[in-house]
Structure formats: C-alpha cells, structure tokens
C-alpha cells in the first residue's frame, strides 16, 4: 500500500462534483462515480454517466426516495450498462415507472460488482491498485463539517448506523503542520486520512470533498465498501494511483 493515493490527480478519472439537491440519490451518484472512475482508468477517454437512469430504473423503484448501492449495481447489470449523462440527464426527481434505459445507447458497462473486506488496509490496497470505491457512512457529523480530517469516535459517530453513500477517491497522511489560517491546534502526530467525494455540490466541505480519519473505522467507513468490476483491455498496463 503506498503512503498516499489521490485519483483526483489522474486525468479523466474523477468526474465533477454533483449536487443531489432535494433528491435522496447519494447511492446513485456514488455508484455512477465508481463506474465513471473505473471506466476512465480502464478506457480513456472518460465519460460522464447517467444518474437519472438509476433513479428511473432502480429495481426497488424508489427514485429520489432512497436506495442502496448494491441495487444500483444490479440495475446497471440488468440494463446492460449506463447511458451518458448528456443523453439521459439528471432531473433531480425519480420516475420509477418511466425507465428510459432502452431508449438510450449505453456508453459504459460493468462485468460484476464486489464487496471488499471490512478492513482499512485491504480497502486502501484495492483503492490504490484498482480505483475508487463506494462506501456508506454515518452522515451525522457532516452537517457541521467545513474542512480538515474528522477523527470521530463511536460515540460521536456511530459506525453501526450508516446512511450516506459516497465515493472513496484516495488517502493520505496529514503532517504536523496545520493549514495556514487554521484556528485548530497542530496535531501532535501525523493523521492518516481518507479522501471522499460527496454529492452536495462543490461549495460544500473541501470543494465538495471531505476527509475522514483512516484506521479507526470512522463513521462506519468499512461497513459496506463496494465496487464494480470493469474488464481490463488486453495489452494495456494498469494505471496506478497518483501519490
């Protein structure tokens, strides 16, 4: 496992920050972000994929009422792939009985999806060698979050109660030096962290991202680490995560 990994630094892997607004579709945005990233790593150039397709076609049929990442992956498999965001754009409301998947050309598809072990070392290793992963965390502390690394305890953020899906895009270590202008005291020791892509717009958190402490199952990050599997093309070297 490398010391640091940040897929945002790889061109064409991480798409723009989305804003779910009044639609409870973090599960769909995280799933699409995972497939976009793996597709971008495997088959350049990248493409932005349709969140709306998952809202309209999810097998549980709840659209903006909520869903699960694993159901979203099954929907992608059942639909034989995802249309592009351009062809099937996000509307912020689900139409579960009006699935238009068959009317649009699929521009990305997956072979399978898996759940990783609930072990942060395993997750880091897989992230560094394969690409971003969806995780589901306890959302509680994010209401007041502005920036920095959240180091939660089971009391402040119950790891058993996970209710918000996001995309894990990297990890790193924060050194002793605090950020300029910060009112927080400097950490006595270096702080390992995860980098997560949220779906609340680019004006939230750290330009749409946030960081959680790595190594303490902060907010239940290890509970449901899921990722699609995209077939690697022959004669192509795998891309490694930029440090």
């Amino acid at each position: 496992v490398p010391r640091t990994c940040d897929w945002r630094k790889a061109a064409g892997v991480i798409s723009s920050i989305k804003n779910q607004a009044n639609c409870n579709c973090c599960w769909a945005i995280a799933t699409v972000g995972n497939i976009e990233a793996l597709w971008g790593i495997t088959w350049q150039p990248s493409v932005e994929l349709s969140v709306q397709q998952l809202l309209d076609c999810d097998r549980c049929g709840n659209g903006c009422g909520g869903g699960f990442v694993w159901d979203a992956f099954i929907t992608v498999l059942n639909n034989s792939g995802l249309a592009s965001e351009k062809d099937y754009p996000f509307q912020g409301k689900g139409k579960p009985h009006k699935c238009l998947a068959n009317k649009h050309k699929k521009v990305a598809w997956i072979q399978d999806f898996i759940m990783l072990k609930d072990n942060e070392q395993t997750i880091a290793s897989y992230l560094a060698t394969h690409g971003p992963i969806t995780v589901t965390i306890n959302v509680k502390l994010l209401q007041q979050y502005q920036s920095g690394v959240i180091r939660a305890t089971p009391t402040t953020c119950d790891p058993r109660h996970v209710d918000h899906s996001v995309l894990l895009v990297g990890f790193g270590v924060e050194g002793r030096r605090a950020e300029a202008g910060s009112s927080r005291p400097r950490p006595r020791h270096s702080t390992p962290y995860w980098i997560l892509k949220n779906s609340w717009g680019a004006n939230w958190g750290e330009k749409g991202y946030f960081r959680l402490h790595r190594g303490s199952n902060a907010c239940g990050i290890t509970k449901y680490p899921l990722t699609a599997r995209v077939q690697l093309p022959q004669n192509r070297r795998p891309v490694s995560c930029p440090p």
Partner: protein, 104 residues
C-alpha cells in the same frame, strides 16, 4: 428558547449578524417572523453543536456554519441521511443493519 424578552446585548446581535451573513451566503429567506425566529434558534443550536464537535474532535476538522446550519438534526437526516421512513417508504442511503453479508 425564544429570543423574545432577552436583553439586547452584544451576544444576540452577534448571532443575528452571523445568521444574516448565512442567509446571504446561502440565499435563505423565511416566510414569516415566527419561522425566522425558529430558524435562528436552530442556527444557534447548531453553532453550539459545531463548537462542541470542534472541541471533541481528535483530528484536524473544522466545524461551523454550513449550508445545513438552519436545519434540525432530524431535518438534515431526512434530506441527507436517515430519513424517518413512513409507511414503508425507504430512506436515502437507507439504514442498513444486516450482518449477514459475506464477501462476494
């Protein structure tokens, strides 16, 4: 509690100023004075909560005013997390409890 009846001191004024800045930054308006007062109270509660989190957090996180500072914890959960499900309607990123999952 209600701000009504409080002595006009610097603390409420400061809070109102911060709240006004919040309203401007996130384009918030409220339908009537009662709703304004309610949101101001929630805002004050959230600022206190953010301060507590800041003191308790062992990392380097900064907590404070966010786009969700005028929402109660329950409202935030309904919109962005654990929606209180009614009549079988599932929630956002629905609360998952099963321990039966193994590796795929």
């Amino acid at each position: 509690g209600s701000l009504r009846g409080q002595d006009p001191g610097p603390r409420p004024l400061e809070l109102k100023e911060v709240f006004t800045l919040f309203q401007i930054q996130y384009n918030r308006s409220y339908s009537n004075p009662a709703e304004y007062a309610r949101r101001l109270n929630i805002f004050a509660h959230n600022l206190a909560q953010a301060q507590r989190l800041q003191e308790e957090d062992l990392g380097t996180a900064e907590f404070g005013v966010t786009p969700f500072s005028d929402l109660t914890e329950e409202e935030f959960g309904q919109h962005y997390g654990h929606r209180r499900a009614a009549a079988g309607v599932p929630s956002l990123g629905r609360k998952v409890e099963s321990e039966e999952w193994g590796e795929s």
